[in-house]
Structures are given as C-alpha cells and as structure tokens.
C-alpha cells in the first residue's frame, strides 16, 4: 500500500506541475464558461424571464458549472494519450508500478482541476452579484455535484485514451460530443421547452440530472426529492463507468 501511494503521488505531482506551469491553458478553459455566464446571462436576461422568473444568470450558473466539469473531464485523458504516443507511457508500464496508480493519479489530477475551475467560476459569479438560494453551503454543494458528474466522465475519457490510436480521433470525439450533450440537457433551457425527441435524449444525459439538482439549490432551496433523484442517477452513472472502465482498461493495460 505504501508503494502504491508513493507511485500515485509521484504521478499526481507531475500532473499538478503541468497545471501550475501552464496557467494560460487554465485561463482559456475558463474563458468560455465565464463568457456564457456573464455575457449570455446578461444578454438573455429579459428573454428568459418567462421560465426563470428572476435572474437568468443564477439559472445559467448550474449549466455552466456542469459544462465546465463535463468539458474538463472529457478532455482529461488527452495527456495520457500523448504519453502513449511519445513513449512515456511505455516506460511507465515497464516500471514495477501498479497500473491502477497511472489511472488514479490522472483521475485525481483531472478532478482537482475541475474543482479549481468550478470554484473560480462560482466566486466570479458571486462577485457579479449572482445570488444562490441555499447560500454558501449550497455553493459548496454545487461544487460537489459538479465533481459527481465529472467522475464518470473522467473515466470515459481515460477509457478513450487507451482505446483510441491517436489524439486526432480523440479531439474529433471531443468536438462532436461537448456541444450536443450540452444542448441535449437542461443546461440552458428547461427540459419542458425542448422538442420531444431532444427531451428524450436529454433524459438519458447525466448532465441533465446534475443541472436539475444544482438549479434547485441555486434557485429554490434544499429540495430533498430532486436532490435524491439526482444523486441516485449520478452515482449509478459513476459506478457504471467505473465498471466498464475496469473491464476495458484491464484488457488494454495488461
């Protein structure tokens, strides 16, 4: 166990060094969500009054957090794919380390990044005067829910990193999933306003449940049944992805 922790820590430190020495990358990642929240939130304030009944930016905040968690997690496997392409991973795999430490270290690094980005967005939102119905405790809960969504998506990304042959394919998949999955959810508009087929797809999208739960916290309050519904769906999603990941990666890392 001591060795496992040491291996994981060493690899996590490497990823955190990347984050620290690449501050612009983090800034660019934050640019889109912030534009969405501040500008789109402001621009559509009056249009969205019908379904928000108040501040569209507070309505949008959960969607933006979910989008950030989703995007960051989905891209999380890319550095491993680069490691695979340039031989670094071969070298790791020839070392007497647990395979799981490679995955765990990356998983932790991705979700620490997500936590940091979502916290920055939240702080920025509060500075711009967005009010959260459940207060500071609710804000912490929003971060927790963002991570709960991010966990499962990170595992999907790790699977892709090992299954795909090159990063071009990975970027293609990122490009074609991020936007549709965001619109096929309740991130920007209520589920009821979507056309029938879109609503159907949105209902199997875990992002919808994360957003619904967070929106309740942001606009209404501690609604037990909505939150429980969300928690069940997200935990099932995370566990299912873990199960799939365990099966697929065992084969690919043997």
């Amino acid at each position: 166990m001591g060795d496992f922790l040491r291996e994981t820590k060493a690899q996590l430190v490497r990823w955190l060094i990347h984050t620290r020495r690449e501050p612009f990358s983090m800034a660019f990642n934050l640019l889109n969500p912030v534009i969405l929240l501040i500008f789109m939130g402001g621009a559509f304030q009056s249009l969205a009054k019908d379904f928000t009944g108040g501040d569209y930016r507070a309505y949008l905040l959960p969607g933006v957090l979910a989008l950030t968690a989703f995007g960051n997690s989905m891209a999380g496997g890319i550095p491993l794919l680069f490691d695979k392409e340039n031989g670094f991973l071969l070298r790791l795999m020839s070392a007497p380390i647990s395979r799981a430490s490679i995955l765990l270290a990356r998983f932790l690094a991705v979700n620490l990044n997500t936590l940091l980005q979502c916290a920055l967005i939240l702080i920025l939102g509060l500075l711009f005067g967005i009010q959260i119905a459940t207060g500071l405790t609710g804000a912490v809960a929003l971060l927790f829910i963002s991570l709960l969504l991010g966990f499962g998506v990170t595992i999907v990304s790790l699977i892709l990193a090992f299954v795909l042959e090159n990063h071009g394919d990975f970027f293609a998949i990122l490009g074609i999933t991020a936007l549709p999955l965001t619109f096929l959810s309740s991130a920007f508009v209520p589920l009821e306003s979507l056309p029938g087929w879109m609503r159907l797809l949105a209902q199997v999208n875990p992002m919808t449940y994360a957003v619904d739960g967070m929106r309740t916290l942001a606009l209404v309050g501690w609604n037990g049944s909505v939150l429980a519904h969300m928690a069940i769906v997200l935990v099932i999603f995370d566990v299912a992805m873990f199960w799939v990941g365990n099966r697929v990666l065992r084969r690919h890392m043997a």
Binding site: R6, K9, R14, R21, L90, M93, I97
Partner: protein, 325 residues
C-alpha cells in the same frame, strides 16, 4: 548466481499476418553489451517489447535473470531499466523532478536517490542543469537525462532501443562512453541498433536479425572473420614506365598463393581478396619485391558489418530497410 541475464528461447510473435518474430533464440551473459542489429522492421522493437513485458509473445520463452516475462512480469520490471527509442522526457519538468519521479516509481530510499542523482548527472555531463526545465534542453541533453532516469534504480539489465538515434557525433560518443561505463560496473546491456558502427564499436556480442529471424550471432570480430575476406589493395606508381606489365605480373604471381581467393585489377590498383590478412600480406610483399613492382601505396581493409549482413542474409542492409521500413 546464474551468469546468464537474458535467456530467449524460440520466441515467436505475429501481428495479424505479419510475422514480427519467427522463433529467435539467444543468451546474454552478465556484464556484456549485446546488440540486436537489423534494418527497420526486422523485429528488434518487438523483441524489446517482449523483454520489457509490454507485449506478450505468442510462443517461446524469455527470462530476465531467471524471471519469466509472462509468469513473473512484476519481478522482470524491477530488474530492467528501459529507455525507449523516442525521447520520453517531460518538457514541463526539470531534470531533478524527473529523477525524483523515477525514484518514487522504483521505490528508492531518499538518501540513495540523492547520491545517485548527483552521480548520474555528473557522469552524463548534466551537473548544474538539474533545476532547468527540460523544455530548454537540447536533444542530446534530453537523451542523456532519459538514460540517467533508466539507470537510477541500478537495474542489472539496461534495455536500450536505438540509444543514439538522431544524435550528433559528440553526444553519440558520450552515450557510448556511458553505456561502456555501465558495462564496466557489471551492468548487462541489451541494445537494438540500426547502425553498423554502433554495433561494431560497442557490442561484445551481436545478433543480426532479419525478417524476424536471427541470421548470425557472435562477436563482431568472429562474424567478420567467418567471411574470410580481407582486402589488400596494391597501387603502383603511374609515372613508372612499365607499371601495367609489373602489376599484371604481380597479379599472376599472387593468384598462385594458397591464401589468395580472388584478385581484381582496376587501373593502377590491384585488389587482392585474402583469407588471413596477417599471413598473406608478407607473402604478397615478397612477391612484389621479387618482381620489383613500383609500389606507390598499399592498404588493407577488413569487411564491415554491412558486408557481414549481406553475407548472412543474402541482401544488403539498405535493401532490408526499404523492404520493411
């Protein structure tokens, strides 16, 4: 302890219809530099992947110091230091951070890694560079750091895939010196190379691999001497009146010698292919003296490994590269 560090017995591996390894066998003794020499696509990288537990063989066995790569991969991994052909350093990290990283992965004690880091960086001429990010390193410095990381845990076997690929002459020599120093400290080195001169200069033993099979195995000297084809070139002075007749007379005289296998006249030059250069040379010189041949220059050359390759595989090295590259 078993003096054999690497034992490979009829190893086979196919990728679909392509036979990467078609039953290769060899042994590497402790403290030797063993080179797998062949063109691109001959099966070298597949052999390395199997020895480093990264690929499973279809058939046959491979053992590192008695540990089987299939039955005991964890043990094998702790016994090897693998440096792939590609540069596998991380541009974001400093040299010291790399060594710290590998010290953790190989579970080195704190005191050991600090001493070894200092020693290795000094040995490779990287002392004073430990705090710099690798992004700012030259290609040669990156390769040296890569090699240092591979030996940090002092494995009994270093596995090096094309250690001097794409390096400039000075760095190549530094890398070769480093590999020799490892050997002199008792480390066994298994390396793959595409370069004849690298195999010739560095390896105690060479296996020539071609199309997944071992075509020849032995010390570079033994492989060359099997060819029995040293070349002695005699050049006559063109200003001498009868140089053509004299050279023709010399050719007739040496053709009768037992050690001479073939002669070839080319202008003012006579090429004499002999079996044993050291015995043939005095005989040729005394014939020349007896005929008072006006010798301008005389030289001899031993066949290189490229000729050895041609001899054992029936095709040239470059051809192999084209075929499989």
């Amino acid at each position: 302890m078993d003096p054999v560090i690497v034992r490979v017995v009829s190893l086979k591996k196919s990728y679909g219809p392509v036979r990467a390894l078609d039953g290769i066998s060899f042994e590497v003794g402790r403290g030797r530099i063993f080179g797998l020499l062949g063109p691109n696509g001959a099966g070298k990288t597949t052999a390395v992947r199997i020895l480093t537990t990264l690929t499973r063989p279809d058939d046959g066995t491979a053992e590192i110091a008695g540990a089987d790569v299939l039955a005991n991969p964890a043990k094998v991994r702790s016994l090897i230091g693998y440096v792939p052909q590609e540069l596998t350093v991380d541009p974001y990290l400093t040299a010291a951070e790399h060594l710290r990283y590998y010290a953790d992965l190989y579970h080195l004690a704190g005191a050991a890694w600090e001493t070894r880091t200092r020693e290795l960086l000094a040995l490779l001429g990287l002392a004073g560079q430990e705090g710099r990010r690798v992004r700012h390193f030259s290609g040669g410095m990156k390769k040296k750091l890569d090699l240092a990381c591979g030996f940090l845990h002092r494995p009994p076997l270093m596995v090096l895939d094309e250690p001097s690929l794409g390096l400039d002459v000075q760095v190549r020599h530094d890398v070769w010196r480093y590999i020799e120093q490892l050997r002199d400290q008792g480390t066994t080195v298994f390396l793959c190379t595409n370069y004849m001169d690298e195999a010739e200069r560095l390896c105690d033993e060479v296996a020539i691999i071609d199309r997944g099979r071992i075509a020849a195995l032995g010390t570079p000297a033994a492989l060359r001497s099997n060819l029995k084809r040293d070349v002695i070139s005699v050049e006559v002075s063109a200003s001498h009146d009868h140089h053509a007749e004299k050279l023709a007379a010399l050719e007739r005289a040496v053709a009768g010698l037992d050690l001479v296998r073939e002669t070839m006249k080319d202008g003012t030059q006579l090429k004499i292919y002999v079996e044993q250069n050291e015995l043939a040379l005095p005989q040729i010189l005394s014939s020349a003296a007896a005929l008072s041949v006006p010798i301008h220059a005389i030289s001899y050359s031993r066949p290189g490994l490229d000729e050895v390759f041609l001899h054992y595989t029936g095709h040239s090295f470059a051809e192999g590269n084209e075929h499989h590259g």
